[in-house]
């Protein structure tokens, strides 16, 4: 067990855990941030997507010991005061079905739009290819991303 101080959603939070603990389980089990979901544990489904210095990463495969000072943003840190435009676009399209994967989808979509303000269908396919939705909300995710882009995220 080691002590780590993490910069999560603009807060310094300390936890004690094994250094190889994936960020996902630290967030969920120890910090009560359960908006980030477990889906596969091997970084192939995207349910656990968070931002590390603004880049989308899979928290299930990111050991706590590798994070250091870098800023972590989870779904709970997005639109804390007011909903983020991507969240608003998700609401406008009524995107979720079961909703379980949507935290990860939203985190990937925000990261995409921060890099590319006007993504093509192919850009969306590529950026979102790591996020599985078993309910199949892909049609609406695509529309929501396009609408959010139009509204200049």
């Amino acid at each position: 067990m080691e002590k780590f101080t993490l910069n999560i959603n603009d807060q310094k939070l300390s936890i004690e855990c094994a250094p190889d603990t994936p960020l996902l389980w630290a967030l969920r089990d120890q910090l009560g941030l359960t908006g980030t979901k477990y889906g596969c544990g091997i970084a192939v489904c995207g349910s656990c997507t968070v931002h590390l210095d603004g880049t989308a990463v899979r928290s299930c495969s990111l050991p706590i010991s590798a994070i250091n000072e870098r800023a972590i943003t989870t779904i709970e840190g997005v639109g804390k005061d007011e909903l983020h435009p991507v969240q608003k676009a998700w609401i406008a399209e009524n995107v979720p079905q079961c909703g379980f994967c949507q935290s990860g989808q939203i985190m990937s979509a925000i990261a995409l739009l921060e890099q590319n303000q006007n993504p093509s269908d192919a850009d969306i396919d590529q950026a979102m290819s790591g996020n599985i939705c078993r309910c199949g909300t892909y049609v609406r995710i695509r529309s929501a991303i396009k609408n959010a882009a139009k509204n200049n995220v």
């Binding site: 544990g41 590529q126 199949g136």
Partner: protein
């Protein structure tokens, strides 16, 4: 839909209970036990905020005006937690912004809670309308009494009872008085005219929408209670086979591990409730539990299915369907007609095992208490079944098991099986502490209740006048019942009623046959169940028949459906099962069937000319009492398949929540794309080969349809299922589109070009 098995008792019991409760409605008690209906003429309006008016188990109005509506079905993504409450809200003229939705625990007083088989709306639409309308009537009676006017001068409007003079009372203010009134007979209650609907057939967003997009929604995996430990189980790769020995020394050395012990396995066929057994690892947190599980050394035993190889089994099934099977439906003489046919079209069709792989893996929180009660929080489709299964496993009475239903991170039928909750309850009792059991994705994919793999052969005879005169359909697949009973040797009639025996074509000579195939792995019902296999085969052969007849596929379909009629399958098939409802109430009406076919033709731009490498395919299928026609467009480029557009035309009766119906069809097409293009479970030596989304592939953004349009046939028929019906016709429509684009016929899933 589940077939009859010994483990399916709950389904039957619940249905009976529902009917019993429903019958009470006619004597004045709507759908359950009245909680506050003692007549007391001396009640006056005081506006007490702590007053409660709860005339039935589904609806309460508080003195504050808040309306609490019970969602007694499980929310797994269909929107049912919104769609049924909005039915009540509409009839009671409630203001939706003043409605709170309360998720019901598992309790027989709510009637059937088994969220499965696409029947939630079908079964509860009418009773919940009556429940809402009764509340409205009582509020009107209360106001009329208070004003001492005739009730005809009062009407309900947006959470108020308004008198013709303009004065009004809010619902909250009326609760005390309404609660003192006797509950009226159903015959006194008037339902709204459909033109007055405010929520039914209108667009209502899902109740949990904002919680979901902000990460606040609570699924089973998110549930926290004090002192919760985490458990995972190391299981024998062969379901039901036990273990020889294990060594947990390395595991127990890990800091934070509290217990490692053996849970007994139940031998195959173990049914749907029994834990698979194995080595249970309990730890302070998930990561520690996972590491400790890896550190446990186990020597497994081999069981009765150690030789199971799904490829060999498929070859056996394919061979078996070349010969005549057990005839389950027969008209005329197909053999004779085939002999005399000018052309015979025939093909085999193969579908592999499939896994449900819901995004949220099976998981459950259980707390076995010192007083002998057990509380559960879990993402389950059938909380009453869970209650029964847990009570039986713990040896306690059912009322001592409290099953709280969380949101379900999708389910597709997996979470109607109680096995994982039983495991959690047993572990909590064993360690005498609250635990959360996690199934990892590997556990989920390797130890699922798999979709039946299936081989079929269809043979169609066309006479010299280009008329289809014979139809032979043979299907071989392991029965779901085989998971519970060693006596289940192959498809049951109930299972064959999902596509084979309910074949709707007007053909003179018909033979529908079943071939034996025994379950050697846990088999379960997956979204759309056997309709997946059968619609794939039928929709594909029908396209070949159109080609052979040199007919447009849609014209061919309309011709095969034949004259306008309600098909009396009961006269054609012994013990015909029409999704557990009477054919008289929900007939297979070829007129309605043809209407969806014509509608999809009209809306899809069917017949337009397409560039090389593109194709349009069509298929139609009735399942779960809903008629669906589908046109899929594909672009095939260097064996890469893209699906730019899907059109569905559907007749599901009154569309109660159209946005959620469209969502089910959009998602159904994507689910179909997974099954058609990606997914396959292989079993070797009794163990599943695939173990995560890295090798059990499902549709991702680029694989799924880019657009899906849903066109409704407008009518006022009784609502029918929408969760499962989208999947079956999509797959053959896609295959037929691929044929048009490439000239290749697809006869085996997943598609390999």
């Amino acid at each position: 839909m589940k077939p009859n098995t010994s483990n399916n008792k709950l389904f039957k019991v619940s249905r009976r209970d529902f009917v019993k409760i429903g019958a009470m409605g006619s004597t004045g008690l709507i759908l359950g036990i009245p909680l506050a209906c003692k007549q007391n003429k001396n009640t006056f309006l005081t506006g007490r905020e702590d007053a409660v008016f709860a005339p039935n188990v589904y609806i309460s109005i508080l003195g504050t005006g808040e309306v609490q509506l019970i969602a007694h079905r499980s929310e797994m993504g269909t929107g049912i937690r919104t769609s049924l409450p909005l039915v009540m809200a509409d009839e009671m003229e409630a203001d939706w912004t003043k409605v709170s939705i309360i998720q019901a625990i598992g309790d027989a007083k709510y009637g059937d809670q088994n969220t499965d088989g696409s029947y939630s709306v079908r079964m509860f639409y009418h009773p919940l309308r009556v429940a809402g309308a009764t509340v409205k009537l009582m509020l009107m009676q209360a106001a009329a009494q208070e004003w001492q006017v005739d009730i005809s001068e009062c009407k309900a409007f947006n959470h108020e009872i308004v008198h013709s003079s303009g004065k009004s009372f809010g619902y909250g203010y009326l609760t005390e008085k309404a609660a003192a009134l006797p509950i009226p007979e159903e015959s006194e209650v008037t339902l709204k005219d459909s033109k007055d609907f405010k929520f039914i057939s209108k667009e209502t967003v899902i109740y949990d929408l904002e919680d979901i997009v902000t990460g606040k929604a609570v699924y089973g995996l998110d549930k926290q209670i004090p002192d919760l430990k985490v458990a995972v189980i190391k299981r024998n790769p062969e379901a039901g086979a036990g273990l020889k020995s294990f060594n947990s020394d390395n595991a127990t050395e890990i800091d934070g591990v509290s217990k490692v012990y053996k849970m007994e396995a139940t031998a195959f066929p173990m049914g749907f409730n029994a834990p698979l057994g194995g080595i249970v690892v309990v730890a302070n947190n998930t990561w520690t539990a996972l590491k400790a599980r890896d550190a446990v050394e186990v020597v497994w035993k081999k069981g009765i299915n150690a030789g199971y190889d799904s490829n060999v089994f498929m070859e056996q099934m394919q061979r078996s369907v070349q010969k005549k099977g057990h005839v389950k439906r027969q008209e005329g003489s197909a053999t004779k007609a085939l002999r005399e046919a000018a052309k015979v079209i025939e093909s085999d069709f193969m579908v592999p095992h499939l896994a449900h792989s819901p995004m949220e893996t099976p998981c459950a929180v259980a707390r076995y208490n010192a007083d002998g009660t057990c509380e559960i929080w879990a993402p389950v489709q059938s909380p009453q079944w869970v209650q029964q299964a847990v009570a039986a496993a713990l040896g306690i009475e059912e009322p001592k098991v409290i099953v709280n239903v969380t949101l379900l991170g999708s389910a597709f039928g997996r979470k109607s099986k109680p096995d994982f909750v039983v495991e959690a309850a047993l572990i909590s009792k064993e360690i005498n502490a609250p635990i959360k059991l996690l199934w990892t994705r590997e556990d989920d994919i390797q130890h699922d209740f798999f979709h039946s793999n299936c081989a079929q052969h269809i043979k169609v005879g066309i006479d010299k006048n280009n008329k289809v005169t014979s139809w032979v359909h043979r299907s071989a697949f392991p029965s779901i019942s085989g998971t519970a009973s060693p006596d289940a040797k192959g498809p049951s009639s109930d299972e064959l009623c999902m596509g084979v025996l309910d074949m709707p074509f007007e053909i003179e000579n018909v033979s529908c046959e079943a071939l034996d195939a025994n379950a050697q792995i846990r088999i379960g019902w997956l979204r759309s169940v056997h309709n997946i296999n059968h619609a794939f085969a039928i929709g594909s052969i029908v396209d070949q028949v159109a080609q052979a007849r040199q007919m447009d596929p849609i014209d061919n379909m309309l011709d095969l459906l034949g004259s306008d009629r309600k098909i009396n399958f009961a006269a054609l098939v012994e013990g015909f099962n029409n999704y557990n409802v009477k054919l008289e109430d929900y007939p297979c009406d070829t007129q309605r069937f043809k209407k969806v076919v014509q509608l999809v033709k009209e809306k899809s731009g069917w017949g337009k000319s397409l560039p090389e490498g593109q194709g349009m395919g069509f298929a139609a299928h009735r399942s779960f009492l809903t008629y669906v026609a589908c046109v899929v467009e594909v672009e095939v480029d260097d064996n890469n398949i893209k699906i730019p557009m899907v059109h569905y035309a559907i007749d599901c009766g009154v569309p109660v929540n159209p946005d959620r119906i469209r969502a089910q069809f959009e998602g159904g097409a994507a689910f179909g794309a997974s099954l058609a293009l990606k997914s396959e479970i292989n079993v070797k030596k009794g163990a599943v080969v695939e173990d995560n989304f890295s090798n059990y592939h499902v549709a991702r953004m680029a694989d799924a349809p880019i657009n899906t349009a849903v066109h409704f046939v407008e009518n006022e028929e009784k609502p029918t299922g929408v969760g499962e019906p989208p999947v079956p016709p999509f797959i053959p429509a896609l295959c037929n589109a691929i044929f048009m684009a490439t000239g290749k016929r697809i006869t085996r899933l997943p598609i390999k070009l």
